[in-house]
Symmetry: C2
């Protein structure tokens, strides 16, 4: 087991009506609030009104930045940062899913910093301070509500990258499972894929951490047991709650403590597909994970089989991989490129972009040939 | 699932040589240190010297309170508080196992408070502040290093009770598995029982929390897989690490989030036995748990069977209970009263003391008849 430190400052408020504590929580940091959200679905489902009601109670002075895209772009963060530099908020309030919260995280560094958001993300600037960030989660998937990571893409340079900094842990995150009731069936399924993928990325990380392995199995089994039931009953509070909590646990540290790091090669692959074809993140992962596992079958058969035995009652790596692929199919997620509308003729440009984006795993390195094989295996 | 909040401020430093960061961590809180420890084993195994070396590096002014007993008593805390009130430490440094850390936790409240330690524990005084507490753990068992709980006994009133207060989370806990190398085989086994018992107390708590259930299974399986190996190889760093981390996870919140609370009836039973006969905590639990489960077999057979299916491949509650009892026996922990030297003639006085101490579960209430039956079942 590797040395590790557990230090997670995010206060997670989980359950029914937890947002009734939002106003007084915001107030601890001040009354000038920069509210950031996405395409406006929160105005349809009542969440916007509920949040604004809380802010009204504390007489908050609010400015808004709306329109964060499902595949979030750094250009939005720069635009929001300009607003923020003028307004000088005491607190940033992000209401949305991973795209909104990840944008808000980088924004929290960019407002008090002289450099652009992208320079921060590529580590050309070293921010020393962040505006306090509070989140209200509306989509169970990325785990960003309780971790120090963000993923954004740059339209100009055509890159999509991850970034981590302890300064960007949300101070508080409010998770009311009922706030995810209006998430569509397909995006609910993508969220399930995403949380499973996070557990897997850490499982395939470097270093022996047996209890973290068991937590991975626990989270995947939870998602596999209750995910399909949820897809048939999208307004079921308890099922929404189970998936929401599982998504947080998949990437709040629990699945990696005692390892050197996770792998993240499959996310790298997925990011390129999102970047090129604006494909939903979860859909890219349900295509890429089976392919990556098939590539790795000869290299790490025992590790794959260990997972299969623990989670799927599988007896070898073949069965493990077909169980994972079968589960993704069973919840109607794509497992081949043509299912997300990316035809065979795109292979050369995909390969080029993967190489340009330096797609790789932290633990299991991917050669140019490996990437070529993964691309083939996704078809 | 019940609403819950995750807010654990303890920074856990886990791994080889983590104590090299102790000095600079203490220094953040100040240089006046009240050092508290137990019977002096830390002077034999070198831990005392290592800790003092760290304190010397920051020119700390140190006073000591030594001699905390394995079954810790509130009288020691009061004596330490008198020293502390004169010295006015900036920080309390607890070096030891659960007994030392639990004493230090109540001490951290008692020094700045006008009331006695016991009045704090029985909620007759409501402390509003605590001296910052830093711990160096030398025994894997209680999980106290990352939670807000303490258990102490009162020699005078002959009671042993638990207490909880968010103010007593340690600010930092240093866990070097090598610091547990010198723990004897029997106390190592008691620690394994203790951590399993904590997972079980939460499993048998009130409320449906499926992912927390899975974390319970994970922790128990980890302890059952690696515990016996550790008992045959006490200086094995990696096995020590696995058990140490499992013990932390058993009682840092992970096994209870989403429930109303744990049950804690078995701990209540065990505390009475420790109180009366100075029996080691873990040994009382390996006797009491099988008895409690046998009592509950008719009441909650499905819940017991669910555990057995997940952890022991058992098919009913009988098999589950005999698997748990069998495991405790296999690691040479007592499962009957006579094995801890408490003979049949003690039954009446035990029953009396249990009733006087109001032994009960939070979730599964114990009538006088239930307690009588548990006492019988422990023989």
């Amino acid at each position: 087991m590797q040395n590790f430190k557990i230090e997670n400052p995010t206060v997670l408020h989980f359950g029914r009506n937890v947002v009734r504590d939002l106003g007084k929580t915001v107030e601890k940091y001040g009354r000038k609030v920069l509210l950031i959200y996405g395409g406006g679905s929160i105005k349809k489902n009542g969440i916007y009104d509920e949040v604004m009601g809380q802010l009204k109670q504390i007489n908050a002075e609010v400015i808004e930045y709306a329109g964060i895209k499902p595949n979030p772009i750094v250009e939005d963060v720069n635009a929001a940062a300009e607003k923020g530099k003028q307004f000088q908020p005491d607190v940033i309030l992000a209401v949305g899913g991973g795209s909104v919260i990840d944008s808000a995280k980088v924004l929290s560094l960019a407002i008090p910093c002289e450099h652009s958001a992208w320079r921060i993300m590529i580590n050309m600037a070293k921010p020393t301070t962040a505006i306090p960030l509070i989140t209200v989660l509306t989509l169970a998937a990325t785990g960003t509500e309780m971790n120090p990571f963000a993923v954004l893409q740059n339209v100009q340079t055509h890159k999509k990258i991850g970034y981590g900094n302890p300064l960007i842990y949300p101070r508080h995150s409010f998770l009311d499972p009922a706030f995810t009731f209006s998430v569509s069936r397909d995006y609910t399924a993508y969220g399930i894929v995403d949380l499973i993928a996070h557990a897997l990325e850490n499982y395939f990380g470097e270093g022996d951490a047996s209890l973290s392995d068991r937590f991975v199995y626990s989270i995947i089994r939870e998602a596999m047991e209750y995910g399909p039931a949820l897809l048939d009953d999208l307004q079921n509070y308890d099922l929404r709650a189970k998936i929401m909590y599982a998504a947080t646990c998949a990437l709040n540290g629990l699945t990696v403590f005692g390892r050197v790091s996770g792998d993240w090669g499959v996310h790298d692959i997925g990011h390129v597909l999102s970047l090129m074809y604006d494909a939903p993140h979860g859909a890219t992962l349900s295509v890429a994970y089976p392919a990556w596992l098939k590539l790795m079958k000869g290299r790490i058969p025992d590790r794959i089989t260990q997972l299969g035995k623990a989670v799927f009652n599988a007896s070898n790596s073949e069965e493990t991989i077909s169980s994972i692929e079968g589960f993704f199919k069973s919840i109607e997620c794509p497992v081949r490129m043509n299912e997300i509308g990316i035809n065979e003729d795109k292979k050369p440009e995909i390969l080029d972009m993967m190489i340009k984006n330096k797609v790789n795993g932290v633990h299991y390195k991917l050669s140019k040939e490996d990437i070529g094989r993964v691309v083939e295996l996704m078809y």
